[in-house]
Assembly symmetry: C2
Homo-oligomer: 252 residues x 2
């Protein structure tokens, strides 16, 4: 019985990522969250703040995967063009969402300047969209069909993910177990390959590191099937022991 | 006179990034390095350890941009399939590079096990490739046409970038200047838009933050033209002062 695998794509929008100024934290954050929802992040594209580039990436990934997430470009300033680009990708108009306007009116009621024209930009959504609550600041995320527009600032995105938890249909979550070993991965490559081939329901990733003057590697076993995962981990530990290596369950 | 803009694409290869296990550091590292070379990182795609997915991304980006970089998947283990995928993308064979073999022979001469079959995998290159030196470990990077295959481990990639410094033709580097301001970016959105429109050779990015209980934003002005950059920064500072905001040259 092979279970359906649910997939997601992510479009990270922002010149600041492509210039190296900002280290992206949303890829790992969204990937980890999706894993728990039983959804596999299958592709990420990072594109600049250029409408046509966003349109192309959004259209490619929303058709290819079950879900699409975007991060960035939903704030109040002139470089925040994600809503317009997604509306263009879908061929719908941009409208002011009444509930978003009400949220922003409340949020800015006691703040200097009140709800300015610029701030009202954050109530703009592609026609037909729902809001994703954001407890951290006034501006909500946006959900339309399989598309989810999230903030660029990681802790605001975290709040939006929290609001979405449990609301997206997924499959069996991908389970992982890590075995660490103070060995060059090249010494153990043949054994890894043999163990993986003998356990077709599992993948084994090998992640070398260099620490305290010694080389080591973490071997990450992944499967949606807990029994298969356990059997593969046991086989891997036996293989490591047979070759004379100490290993650390849970990773180093 | 409009100068040629040199561009690059990056394909990040690795299940560990898409699972959220590993936080990517290579995007920012390669982006920053490219800026100094006068090359603009224009797109990043993160794909899993699946040959066909790597082939598709490599072919899309090597044709679209002047340069293509990949990170990950050039080690000795079974999940290291980048060389095979790139060879398939280019329609060339995979061969053992004699110089890479010699490097590995020297590197492993005094190490347990010597140059095993698995380690020899790291001498495999798409036919016609040159090596990119790697002072950190035995395995070299690989250069073929406009494609550069780099390590996944960031400090090894750093060494390979160092070896490439000055060897890729680029244009005028993109210059940036940052102005920090303790204000909600939404209060200053109109002024930002006006300043950017008056300075077509510059882009202004607005990056909000929340720190020590206060909101603020850094405004990053980018241009390849130093005079245009200086004029735009001056105009932005004047606009901030006119609206009654303190600002911090260099950013907060």
């Amino acid at each position: 019985m092979s279970e359906r695998i649910w997939t997601a794509g992510l479009v990270v929008i922002g010149d600041e990522i492509l210039s190296g100024r900002t280290h992206d934290k949303n890829i790992a954050q969204i990937a980890s969250w999706l894993q728990v929802q039983g959804i596999r992040l299958s592709e990420v594209r990072v594109v600049p703040d250029v409408t046509q580039r966003i349109v192309t990436a959004v259209n490619a990934l929303r058709e290819e995967y079950d879900y699409l997430f975007t991060t960035g470009g939903i704030g109040p300033t002139h470089d925040d063009i994600t809503v317009d680009a997604v509306a263009e990708a879908l061929g719908v108009a941009v409208v002011i969402h009444p509930e978003a306007r009400a949220l922003l009116e409340r949020y800015y009621a006691d703040k200097p300047g009140g709800l300015t024209e610029a701030r009202l930009r954050m109530a703009r959504v592609p026609e037909g969209a729902e809001l994703i609550p954001n407890r951290m600041s006034g501006a909500p995320g946006i959900r339309l069909g399989n598309i989810h527009l999230m903030a660029g600032v990681p802790h605001i995105t975290a709040g939006m993910l929290d609001a979405l938890t449990g609301s997206l249909e997924g499959g069996a979550p991908l389970l992982t177990e890590t075995i660490g070993c103070w060995t060059a991965e090249s010494e153990i490559a043949e054994a890894l390959r043999a163990v993986e081939q003998a356990h077709p329901a599992c993948q084994i990733g090998s992640y070398p590191f260099f620490r305290d003057g010694r080389v080591g590697a973490n071997f990450v076993v992944r499967s949606t099937d807990p029994q298969a995962l356990a059997a593969c981990v046991t086989a891997l530990c036996e293989a490591l022991a047979t070759e004379g290596y100490d290993f650390t369950p849970g990773g180093i």
